[in-house]
């Protein structure tokens, strides 16, 4: 099997999921300069809620697609309500406070949401019912599952939809105006509070779908799943340039690719037996095709954070550039 092509496919799947979650971070940052650390938890709620709905419907004999649609139909409004609630109850009262206050509140909300999920769904790792029949296709020596195709396709559709809202609709014009200068936007009759609430709601809606897809892709859900996923998506947003919407899309997909390729090759690259000059040191281990791997693919999660550190050190504004407010 061709490792490279296979990891590209896995990376695109993972990356498009990161991109969808990263959009939630970047949209909120763009408009109120807040890193909403509770966004990962909204994704987790999306996964948990769809899991509950699908489990409840599992015995009913409905077709799998109908069950998933039911899950989505419950999870999207629920997560949107959660996103709205976060903004309304936790962040809006702090709109004029120093920036550190809402940031710490966001971390607090993330803990609160995790604990609520713990109480509702227990501390166990829950397994997603495998209701979707997965077909594997062979493409040039790599295998692509129908699930991966669906995920990538759905993510592209959502990204296109979002781009249309932001760059093509009246709401999007208002969002971009508010992001640039809330005072002037208000002067022009833009209801700034409503626009900010809508930003949270749209981000949460995307997060709900992302939660569902992550759950089905990995077949698992856990009350802490939002933390790592959220941090990685945040890294993706920073990689693309936080506050920059196309940046989050590019950053997410790049990060997915880096992770997948990294995980795919790190074992081979850190196999000391693969370096003939070093062979004499480890003759006993390396004899008969043995290996001495320093880092295995379980180091996958490290790559996102290595990327985050490198970006922050060498290009803090991200690949496509941070949204720079030109305030007078």
């Amino acid at each position: 099997m061709d490792t490279f092509l296979q990891q590209i496919i896995n990376g695109l799947t993972l990356g498009s999921l990161y991109a969808i979650v990263a959009l939630g971070y970047t949209m909120v940052y763009g408009i109120i300069q807040l890193i909403n650390f509770a966004h990962g938890e909204v994704v987790m709620f999306g996964a948990m809620i769809t899991l509950s709905v699908i489990s409840a419907a599992a015995g009913s004999g409905l077709p799998p697609a109908a069950m998933i649609l039911m899950g989505v139909a419950v999870a999207i409004p629920a997560c949107m309500a959660l996103g709205y609630l976060l903004e309304r109850a936790a962040y809006r009262p702090l709109r004029k406070a120093p920036r550190l206050a809402p940031l710490i509140t966001a971390i607090g909300m993330s803990i609160v949401l995790q604990q609520i999920a713990l109480m509702i769904w227990s501390r166990n790792i829950l397994s997603f019912p495998q209701i979707l029949p997965v077909t594997l296709y062979e493409v040039a020596g790599a295998s692509v599952s129908s699930l991966q195709i669906i995920i990538i396709g759905l993510c592209l559709v959502m990204m296109t939809g979002l781009a249309w809202i932001v760059y093509g609709s009246r709401l999007g014009t208002a969002m971009r105006a508010t992001a640039e200068n809330p005072e002037i936007a208000r002067l022009m009759g833009v209801d700034v509070d409503r626009v900010i609430a809508m930003t949270f709601i749209i981000g949460a809606g995307l997060a709900a779908v992302a939660g569902l897809m992550v759950g089905i892709y990995y077949g698992l859900a856990h009350y802490t799943m939002g933390a790592t996923l959220g941090l990685k998506a945040f890294s993706a947003a920073v990689l693309g340039g936080i506050g920059n919407i196309p940046g989050a899309m590019v950053g997410g997909i790049l990060l997915g690719l880096v992770e997948a390729l990294g995980a795919g090759y790190i074992g081979e690259l850190t196999d000391l037996c693969g370096y003939s000059t070093l062979n004499f040191l480890f003759q006993s281990r390396c004899a008969d095709g043995g290996n001495l791997v320093l880092f295995g693919s379980n180091y996958q999660d490290v790559f996102a954070f290595v990327v985050l550190i490198l970006v922050l050190v060498f290009r803090p504004s991200g690949l496509l550039g941070e949204r720079v407010a030109d305030r007078a």
Partner: protein, 254 residues
């Protein structure tokens, strides 16, 4: 109140700590006139604009606008009532196109919801088309239609000023308040601006402007008020203001 009177300011005062930026300034602006507000630097002209447009709150005093008390507690209420302004230091949405800047201004007078936009509902689509069409018209009106799709920050300075006027016009104002519209313009640009402002008045708009270019003010305005240290020291037709001894003193020093 005089029926032809559009805006009436009654004893407007504004203090910043111990500084008396405005002291009991009263003035009236009539329908369809071009009213100039002049004065030396720091006289309180921009503060008056900021109070009038709700960007900062008055310490005391109130406004009547179009026959009703004007609520100046929030900028969008003032805009809703029909007063639009531009800024001394241009404040456009720099990373949006000229057209989009004007479209934002239409927000005040349109109401299409998000759900309609997402579902592509016909009424919403019609409204969005109307917004765009009106924005194009306004860009034509101020003479920068050919730059509709340029980012605001890439426009030449004079065009940025025009764009700011177009954006203000998009809110359908009765009174347009221009804060130093000719600042930084060369003679040609200033002459073109003058034509634009006269055109606005001929189309039924009332214009209030702060300006340092004395020649422009005296040539353009029907009446002029002079502020000095936050107090109104004169209000008259330009010829009389120019001869007013207090005004000469304020500008040249005692």
């Amino acid at each position: 109140m005089n029926p032809s009177c559009l805006l009436e300011a009654q004893a407007i005062s504004k203090r910043f700590g111990g500084v008396r930026a405005l002291h009991e300034v009263s003035l009236t602006i009539r329908q369809c006139e071009i009213y100039g507000l002049i004065g030396p630097n720091g006289a309180g002209k921009t503060t008056f604009f900021n109070v009038l447009t709700g960007l900062c709150t008055a310490s005391s005093g109130n406004f009547n606008f179009a026959g009703a008390p004007l609520d100046i507690s929030a900028p969008h209420l003032v805009a809703q009532a029909g007063i639009a302004r531009t800024f001394q230091n241009i404040r456009l949405f720099a990373n949006m196109t000229a057209l989009e800047n004007v479209m934002v201004g239409r927000h005040l007078r349109t109401h299409a919801g998000v759900i309609g936009a997402v579902l592509g509902c016909a009424a919403t689509r019609a409204e969005e088309n109307a917004i765009q069409q009106r924005a194009v018209e306004l860009l034509h009106y101020v003479g920068i239609a050919d730059r509709a799709n340029h980012l605001a920050r890439n426009l030449p300075y004079g065009d940025q000023r025009r764009l700011e006027i177009a954006r203000a016009l998009a809110t359908d104002p009765k009174l347009l308040a221009l804060d130093e519209p000719a600042a930084g313009m060369n003679a040609t640009e200033t002459a073109a601006l003058r034509v634009l402002i006269e055109g606005l008045r001929n189309d039924g708009l009332t214009v209030m402007l702060i300006e340092h270019d004395v020649k422009l003010v005296m040539g353009l305005c029907d009446r002029v008020a002079v502020l000095d240290y936050g107090e109104k020291i004169a209000e008259d037709v330009p010829e009389n203001v120019q001869r007013n001894s207090k005004v000469i003193e304020a500008y040249l020093g005692a």
